[in-house]
């Protein structure tokens, strides 16, 4: 077989032949597109762990919805969304009106939410329900999940384009935003809504534990290659999309579970970026050429 034909067979054929591969790829690409900018903002706002905390806060909402309605995607997504928003709102409120800082209040509320979710499930359901709630499968993306993911991605990108400027300014110069009447608190809440929406969409596709991986790892890896916010977002999108594609192919050719393949591939990209990236990397630190310009 010629090189081109064998490349085609390896890289393109699986998606041509199987509908589930195409759907998985579309879901990954859509998620990657919106996770890029959202993850970048999370990293820049030093909220990298807040993504994981919010992912755990989804659980009681999904649990309640599952126990009330059954395995219904819209119900579980709605429940998860509401629960996470509630945790974010409560944490923000406590941080604003008491002396507690936001990371402490977020930790407090997400732990309550997580334990509450586990308690609910073990009282009324049993262990297998917990697993099913936690791990979606990207290979089983049905029409409803695909619509959800694509819808959330489109809405996120649109909303981000609208509020990009105040969101950025709120990150590094909130005083200026206040001075021009820019309503920083509103944009902060809007950002949290976007974050929760992307997490809920991701958890349907990859499961709560891995949704955060696709959100954070590409954005963190991008820091080793670019500096401006726009570049960071684009590179994060590209890494997320590439890892989705590559992870699916790994799962197809090597028989590995699909979700972990994608996230571990993103992890590998991160490690490689740490070592050989063009900035903020080990290479930049230890192996730059020692030349300087004239003063």
């Amino acid at each position: 077989m010629t090189l081109l034909a064998s490349l085609h067979a390896a890289l393109v054929q699986p998606f041509v032949e199987f509908g589930f591969m195409r759907r998985a790829l579309v879901a990954c690409l859509a998620l990657g597109l919106s996770c890029g900018p959202v993850g970048t903002l999370l990293v820049l706002r030093r909220m990298s762990l807040a993504g994981d905390a919010m992912a755990h806060a989804l659980l009681p909402g999904a649990a309640v919805a599952f126990l009330l309605v059954g395995l219904s995607l819209p119900a579980m997504s709605l429940g998860a969304f509401i629960a996470a928003l509630a945790v974010a709102a409560l944490a923000g409120g406590v941080a604003r009106f008491t002396a507690q800082r936001e990371d402490a209040s977020l930790a407090g509320f997400y732990l309550i939410a997580l334990a509450g979710g586990v308690m609910l499930i073990s009282l009324r359901g049993n262990s297998v329900d917990l697993m099913r709630v936690l791990f979606g499968s990207i290979l089983a993306v049905d029409d409803a999940a695909l619509l959800l993911v694509a819808g959330v991605a489109s809405a996120s990108l649109l909303l981000l384009a609208l509020v990009w400027r105040p969101l950025l300014v709120e990150c590094f110069d909130p005083g200026f935003l206040r001075a021009v009447g820019g309503r920083g608190a509103l944009h902060h809440q809007l950002f949290l809504v976007l974050l929760v929406a992307n997490l809920v969409a991701g958890f349907q596709a990859l499961g709560t534990l891995m949704a955060v991986g696709l959100l954070m790892l590409p954005a963190i890896a991008a820091r080793c290659w670019a500096h401006s916010v726009a570049q960071l977002s684009v590179i994060a999108c590209a890494i997320a999309a590439a890892c989705g594609y590559g992870g699916l192919l790994l799962s197809y050719h090597a028989g590995l579970p699909s979700g972990p393949s994608i996230v571990l591939l993103a992890g590998a990209v991160y490690l490689v970026s740490l070592v050989v990236g063009t900035r903020d990397s080990l290479r930049a630190r230890f192996f730059t050429a020692h030349r300087h310009r004239v003063a």
Binding site: R165, C171, F172, D173, P174, G175, R178, V180, S228, V229
Partner: protein, 254 residues
Amino acid sequence: MITLDNVTLCHRDRPAVHHLSGQFAPGSLTAIVGPNGAGKSTLLGGLMGRIAPSTGQISLPPRLAGHIAYLPQQADIDRSFPVSVLDVVMLGHWTGPGRLGAWRAAGAVQRAQAQQALAAVGLAGLERRAIGELSAGQFQRVLFARLLLQDAPVILLDEPFNAIDERTTADLLALLHRWHGEGRTVVAVLHDLAQVRAHFPRTLLLAREPIAWGPTAEVLQPGHLQRASLQATHWEAQAPWCEVPAPAVPRVAA
């Protein structure tokens, strides 16, 4: 005309500004001086509407709402954030002549205006530099360029020349004078009394209580300065609750 009427601004139950009354006349150039902890930055916050007065009232003419330009202390800005000098200056268009607000995209005209502002502060050519790579003096010039672009009728500056080299200070003081000449109301919190004497026609000497407010030469007399430094700069743990509506302020003739 910005009028303060018996204004008290508090942090919890401790006053940072205690029963202040007075006016900032339109087109005036005023320095606010006083010991550390005297409430000067807090007063600027009150003028901006960020802190609500516990007593009294701050009156601004309606046309000024949202058109007050504010220079924060540099420490309030996160310089590790990956934005360029031009991005920061372009923010001036939010309320400036471009009136871009939060959403509208900037065009070539706005970009050219931003570059002119950068040139006016002596930073032409540094548009693409990340703000984290600038020195303190350079970054201060960037913030001044943003103020230039905002084209606001009232400009508040919080310690604008802290840790800035002489050359930059001189250049920026020239800008302040230019604004004063254009009829804008400028209020600056400062520490260097020599600077104040040389460049600012009016001064408010504040040590939580207002000590004196008026022409600089009369305000910065030794008697007033001594009173200001005597005013305790520490918080007294069990100070009695305040019952006095408004103490007498030695209002020096304008």
